[in-house]
């Protein structure tokens, strides 16, 4: 999978691109933590419009990033998941800690 980031008005938007599973998780984790070190942003939005597949490994990864960001007082949000990803996010209760932005809130 690929990861692209941009900062817009103090918001770091993280585009997750491709498939997020055990195979791709380690590298994704490393890239994200490296990007988060330099905290030139006030909140993070994970944009999932180009994430074509995710399983529970992705849930673990997102919870892990949530915890690290929380310590720095940075909140995280999710936007644009496809149906498959949406189902997993909903069932695992992830939206309780990383709310999903509705379309009107999308940046």
């Amino acid at each position: 999978m690929q990861i692209e980031t941009i900062v817009k008005r103090n918001v770091l938007i993280v585009y997750l691109i491709g498939e997020l599973d055990e195979y791709s998780a380690e590298q994704a984790r490393r890239k994200l933590d490296k990007r988060f070190e330099d905290a030139n942003f006030e909140c993070v939005i994970f944009d999932m419009s180009k994430l074509t597949f995710m399983d529970s490994t992705g849930i673990g990864l997102l919870i892990g990033r949530y915890k690290k960001l929380y310590k720095k007082n940075i909140r995280a949000y999710i936007q644009n998941p496809c149906l498959q990803v949406e189902k997993i996010l909903r069932m695992s209760g992830l939206y309780e800690i990383m709310p999903r932005l509705s379309n009107s809130e999308v940046i």
């Binding site: 599973d21 055990e22 195979y23 399983d55 529970s56 490994t57 149906l83 498959q84 189902k87 069932m91």
Partner: protein, 144 residues
């Protein structure tokens, strides 16, 4: 007419094969003309079962995972088995958020997702070693 078909896939417990296992199952199911959502539910469940063999079953080395898939009319049966360390308390392992690898950021949601995305889930000890996961799902439920 009751369409029947079956296949068995044996592959190494390497995470690079997760995507392969999902795609192979999806390709096998195409003659059933599943909806995209049904296909994704099954791919997710397969991904969870295969990931568990890779992450939990084998201490080291790349041993084999066996994935059997059969179609009986409109029902898909999938069996994923390993010959690894096994699970001592299966009931506990199946509980949501239970994981023995929190330090690896495992979420403990694997079995819960398999259960939710499939119609049926059985987790059994394999003989003499390992775990067998049996799942099934009816395709075209909407119509019926």
């Amino acid at each position: 007419m009751n369409f029947k078909n079956e296949m068995i896939l044996k592959f190494k417990a390497k995470s690079v094969n997760e995507s392969f296992a999902r795609s192979a199952v999806a390709a096998f199911l195409l003659p059933l003309d599943p909806t995209l959502e049904e296909l994704n539910d099954i791919k997710t469940a397969v991904s969870e079962a295969v990931t568990n063999c890779i992450v939990h079953a084998y201490e080291k080395g790349e041993e084999d995972i066996e994935l059997a898939c059969s179609i009986d009319g409109d029902t898909v049966h999938i069996t994923v088995s390993d010959t690894g360390v096994g699970i001592s308390d299966i009931e506990k392992a199946r509980q949501p958020f239970f994981t023995t690898k929190p330090e690896d950021e495992r979420s403990g949601m694997g079995f819960t997702l398999m259960e939710t995305f499939m119609d049926n889930l059985e987790v059994l000890p394999n003989q003499p070693l390992g775990v067998i996961v049996k799942m099934s799902k009816k395709i075209g439920n909407k119509g019926g």
